[in-house]
């Protein structure tokens, strides 16, 4: 029985649309029943919730859900749930079925004011608790008088609320507390040496043991998705470099690929290969930084410099071709912005030549050390949890979950190269760390196969001066350095996107901090954070 038939059997009110991913329209009252079936029905079995996109369709508010079935060749399905009550929009939560939805729904609540019934912790996620209005709604009033620049410190929000339907069908808020009465709460961040940016954790402690971690995010929230709605397509590209700056090429690749998919544009082969090589170089650079930062967070300051020594070579390669070491702005719609520097091949080969030897050195100086090994065996995350929390990338593969987009639905030039998806079954920080080290080897292998075969030809396709996408919506994923990066674009046919959503891997990574840290020590919070390797601008966007 096909997915379509099965869904219409469970939920007769559902209607279907064929887009790049099969779309199911469900009324809000039937959504919960369908969600349970999607999760538990053996014929559907969509075990991964890949993206949750809040939407404002002017008459209705709603959510687009993107699901993936790992057991059926990464088949995807999207579900559209809409409610017409703009004052009190309620949608049933799915955070108990897919744990990743916990933070995702908080984000939707923050931007659209949609309240999720039965969600355990319906607080804002990015904005201050005293923020007025829901900024991504189309009727949002951006008057600075409503939300002036605050002159007072934000109060710690210890109160939370959960919306519960009582037996009469009336939805009521049930208040509760984030921490217990006598918890010793320690603040880690937003200014802290090891949160890798302005991230804040409030950690309830019992001695040195962690009882609960509350993630307070939004210190570097720039409203990129909101900004995108007021700019043309070529103008929004540069934002991607500023989200996960360690995956600048991959992120931008993803956004360009999504626009190219919408335009039906064929990217020249030379550009495809260049993009692939650049993505892998970016991955090497990112994993080297992850190595360095993990080592430094564990106190091995020297190893940090060893990682940076090699990263410097990658950055020099980028600088020569792209003109920048960070925020490269290299991919454009239809190809890449500039041709390769004459030294490119030579420099890349020099890097590939030294990497295997240097990886051994890293192991000797850091991860081969008994102290490092003992410290890193913390932060257990089972495969089931990794799937449930949608922990992709090296962190997911450290829990033995095969989730590499480059293998699951190959894009760019990944279908013409040989490489292995690195999987380890340690399920702890050490495995996550080792996956990164082994992925550097695989990235080198990919680059080795392509570097002598960069085809001649154009570096970008002919693109109209004003890019207008047809009416519709598209979702594209690539494998960024830290996991699956997704871009959702909805267009109303004008030159500006109607809605852009970036599904960043780090957003999900920070969602497991509480799960991984409980019962460990304060020092392990830092280790686990370092091995998950989240980048804060990618979470906050």
């Amino acid at each position: 029985m096909s997915v379509k038939d099965k869904i219409s059997k469970i939920c007769p009110s559902a209607t279907f649309e064929d887009a790049d991913v099969l779309l199911v329209n469900v009324p809000a009252e039937d959504w919960r029943a369908l969600a349970e079936a999607l999760k538990h029905d053996p014929d559907l079995n969509f075990d991964v919730l890949s993206a949750v996109v809040g939407m404002d369709w002017k008459e209705t508010l709603g959510v687009m859900y993107y699901f993936t079935a790992t057991s059926r060749k990464w088949e995807m399905l999207s579900v559209k749930v809409a409610v017409s009550d703009r004052e009190n929009p309620y949608i049933d939560t799915v955070s108990d079925l897919w744990k990743v939805a916990n933070f995702q729904e908080r984000e939707v609540y923050d931007f659209y004011g949609i309240k999720f019934v039965n969600h355990p912790d319906m607080r804002r996620f990015f904005l201050r608790n005293d923020w007025k209005g829901y900024p991504l709604r189309k009727d949002y009033d951006a008057d600075p008088k409503l939300n002036p620049i605050p002159e007072n410190d934000e109060k710690n929000e210890d109160n939370t609320v959960s919306y519960v339907k009582d037996p009469n069908g009336v939805i009521k808020p049930i208040p509760s507390k984030v921490f217990e009465m006598h918890d010793y709460v320690m603040n880690i961040g937003p200014q802290h040496p090891s949160t890798h940016g302005v991230m804040r954790f409030r950690v309830a402690l019992n001695g040195e043991e962690v009882k609960k971690v509350d993630v307070v995010s939004g210190y570097i929230h720039r409203g990129i998705e909101k900004l995108c709605e007021e700019l043309g397509y070529p103008q929004i590209l540069h934002f991607t470099d500023r989200m996960d700056y360690m995956s600048a090429h991959q992120n931008r690749h993803c956004l360009c690929a999504c626009i190219e998919k919408a335009l039906g544009l064929q990217v020249p082969d030379r550009a495809v290969v260049i993009r692939t090589i650049m993505d892998e170089l970016m991955r090497i650079s990112s994993h080297l930084l992850a190595f360095g930062c993990t080592a430094m967070d564990l106190g091995a300051t020297t190893a940090f410099f060893y990682g940076f020594r090699e990263r410097e070579m990658v950055l020099d390669i980028f600088e020569k071709t792209c003109g920048a070491r960070m925020s490269m702005n290299y991919n454009v719609i239809g190809g890449v912005i500039a041709d390769l520097h004459p030294d490119f091949v030579k420099d890349v080969k020099a890097l590939l030549a030294i990497m295997p030897e240097r990886l051994k050195e890293y192991h000797t100086v850091f991860s081969g050390n008994i102290i490092a090994k003992n410290r890193l065996h913390v932060g257990h995350l089972s495969k089931e949890d990794a799937i449930n929390y949608c922990i992709t990338g090296p962190s997911g593969r450290g829990s033995n979950w095969s989730c590499d987009c480059r293998k699951k639905h190959p894009y760019a030039a990944y279908d013409r190269v040989q490489f292995e998806e690195v999987l380890l079954d340690g399920c702890d920080s050490y495995s996550r760390y080792m996956v990164r080290m082994k992925e550097i080897e695989q990235s080198c292998r990919i680059i080795e196969q392509l570097i002598d075969k960069i085809p001649e030809g154009d570096i970008r396709a002919q693109v109209p001066k004003i890019v207008k996408l047809p009416v519709g919506h598209w979702y594209t994923q690539v494998e960024a350095s830290r996991g699956t990066f997704g871009v959702y674009i909805e267009s109303d046919g004008s030159k500006n996107p109607y809605r852009v959503h970036f599904q960043s891997p780090c957003f999900n990574l920070v969602g497991v901090m509480d799960l991984c840290c409980r019962g460990n020590m304060i020092a392990d919070v830092i280790t686990i954070g370092a091995a998950l390797d989240f980048v804060i601008p990618d979470i906050d966007r």
Partner: protein, 358 residues
């Protein structure tokens, strides 16, 4: 070997000739105090530069290079910066204890500093229980750290101070036991006698296997005692920002900083005294020509050289190893280090009793 007591005795006689005995002692105390404090700060500055350069070379860097040749002036710049920085006072701190804490830490380390045998005839305090006194006084420093953590009214500081308390109390045991093994070889705790007993052969060679084990144990415990990596949990930069001295600024922070480096020198000095002969040159019994050449090198150079060498090893630890976790730290001490130290002490007692020493 040049005997420094010639100078000190000459000075003593000179002063006695022109003033009464009480005034002589007063003047001598002032001179000694000034020299001591000057040596304390100069050594601290040297150590800061020493560590910065060493860690730079471990990390494929050059270290400070801009101020003066090889960045030599950098340390003066740092000291001036630290002296003129504002001492921030915070709301909610226990003001008296907050200000008192750095002085306790410095006082403890200066007192131990005074006991070190600098050279032939160059020693300030000498008791017949000298080494015991040094161990006792050096543990007073932890009170300052606990006070600093408590008075700061900061959760990082408090966690850092509590860690420090647990750590120092624990590691003192293996440190003491390791030194006790050497006391068994020497049969004395008097610092001067300890040095003279190593005239023909340093204790690390006299005591052979158990002495070498004791030396390794001592190095590990000393690293922990000085709160240095891989045991720098009280500061634990990446967890607790700066641990017990998070809230300190200006010269009150400078005091902690100084005493940290001086403690490194002091534990190295004790190791030099107990294992490597203190200021005693390297002698091989019977090789008189060789011994005479060794004697040409001044005794103070021998002492400082040995201390710097041991500091080098401890700095090397810090810039190589990752930091351990508090439970691992305590497990390591109570389950491994202390039992080994006890067994080693018993082994040394057997060796000493049967005269199996060189």
């Amino acid at each position: 070997m040049f005997d420094f007591s010639i100078i000190t005795n000459w000075l003593n006689d000179l002063l006695l000739g022109c003033m009464p005995e009480w005034a002589t002692i007063l003047v001598e105390c002032i001179i000694v105090g000034v020299i001591l404090l000057a040596a304390y700060s100069v050594l601290a500055m040297f150590y800061i530069f020493y560590e910065r350069k060493l860690c730079a070379y471990f990390q494929c860097r050059l270290g400070p290079m801009r101020v003066g040749p090889w960045g030599l002036m950098q340390l003066f710049a740092d000291v001036i910066k630290m002296l003129i920085k504002e001492i921030i006072s915070l709301k909610g701190t226990d003001k008296f204890l907050f200000k008192l804490a750095p002085y306790i830490v410095v006082a403890a380390s200066v007192t131990v500093f005074a006991c070190l045998p600098w050279g032939y005839g160059l020693q300030i305090i000498n008791y017949n229980i000298g080494i015991f006194f040094m161990l006792a006084v050096s543990s007073l420093g932890v009170i300052g750290i606990l006070l600093a953590g408590w008075a700061s009214n900061n959760k990082y500081s408090l966690v850092g101070a509590m860690r420090s308390g647990a750590q120092m109390v624990s590691y003192e045991i293996s440190m003491g036991l390791a030194l006790m093994a050497i006391v068994l070889v020497a049969g004395t705790m008097d610092i001067n006698e300890l040095v003279w007993k190593q005239e023909n052969c340093w204790f690390i060679f006299q005591g052979h296997i158990p002495a070498i084990i004791a030396f390794v144990l001592y190095l590990i415990a000393a690293t922990a005692e000085t709160n240095r990596g891989p045991f720098d949990l009280p500061e634990a930069e990446h967890e607790l920002t700066a641990g017990f001295h998070t809230e300190y600024s200006g010269i009150s922070f400078g005091m902690f900083y100084l005493s940290e480096y001086l403690n490194l020198f002091i534990v190295s000095g004790i190791a030099a005294l107990m294992f490597l002969g203190g200021w005693m040159p390297f002698h091989i019994a019977g090789w008189d020509g060789f011994n005479n050449v060794m004697n040409w090198i001044p005794s103070i150079v021998w002492f400082l050289g040995k201390a710097f060498f041991i500091s080098y090893i401890i700095i090397w630890f810090k810039w190589t190893f990752p930091r351990v976790r508090i439970d691992q730290l305590l497990t390591f001490e109570w389950k491994y280090l202390m039992p080994i130290a006890l067994a080693n002490l018993a082994l040394m007692a057997v060796c000493a009793a049967f005269g199996w020493l060189f």
